[in-house]
């Protein structure tokens, strides 16, 4: 533990990771209503993969290693009037679970908030420490 990450590194990088997650939620929600002409091209929800980053035992932050497509299957819908419909008259709705995305968004918000709080506390304590002889 010679030069551990500071609390600011830890909370800051965690906040960045949560922002990536919020971005994926935003694109998933934005694409929730999209329609596609085939199952392969239909939109599937994007999910970030979080991984722990550590340079000393017990002190670690988090990073997003990759953003993967979820396994949520696009739903087939019979809609022959749709200009995108295939020869059988089917279209595919985006594989996005709006309720799950909303829950994800709330969780992201809470965790971002927690990290802001951590940073605020750390800042205050650091300033108090600096002011000790005044």
């Amino acid at each position: 533990m010679s030069t551990p990450m500071s609390v600011f590194d830890i909370a800051g990088r965690a906040m960045s990771a949560q922002i990536v997650r919020l971005n994926t939620v935003a694109s998933n929600m934005a694409n929730a209503g999209t329609v596609s002409g085939s199952e392969a091209t239909a939109y599937r929800a994007l999910k970030p993969v979080f991984q722990q980053v550590s340079d000393a035992p017990g002190v670690s932050t988090v990073k997003v290693t990759q953003v993967v497509q979820s396994n949520t299957q696009p739903t087939k819908r019979h809609d022959p009037d749709n200009p995108l419909a295939d020869k059988d008259g089917n279209v595919w709705d985006a594989g996005v679970d709006s309720a799950a995305e909303l829950v994800d968004m709330i969780e992201t918000q809470r965790q971002y908030q927690n990290n802001v709080q951590v940073m605020q506390t750390a800042k205050q304590l650091t300033l108090d420490t600096l002011r000790i002889e005044k």
Partner: protein
Amino acid sequence: MGSDDALFGIHGTALQIRSQRMSMLASNIANAATPGFKARDIDFNKALDAATSQQAGSVDDAVESNVGYRVPVESSLNGNTVELPVEQTQFAENAVQYKTTLQFLQGRVDTVMQALKGDQ
């Protein structure tokens, strides 16, 4: 590291351990959504005992040998053992204790300053 500092007693060591514990609790909060992450914490009493009683060895060593894993109240499916209410409570408590230690140090500094300035 001298265990019994003539001026600050154990408070300097305590402040160092409090600061390292703050990093550790911040790590736990940062990794609240990381699958498989195991929350860790320092046993403050044992770490302080080790740091103040050891002849040789640094505060870092004393801390490192007293780091343990948090036992979750209820385990989660993805193997993550961070429980935000627990971590937030511990973080808040540790912050107050850091502040308290700082007050002790402040008291010592004030005393010395007063002695240096003389009675005015």
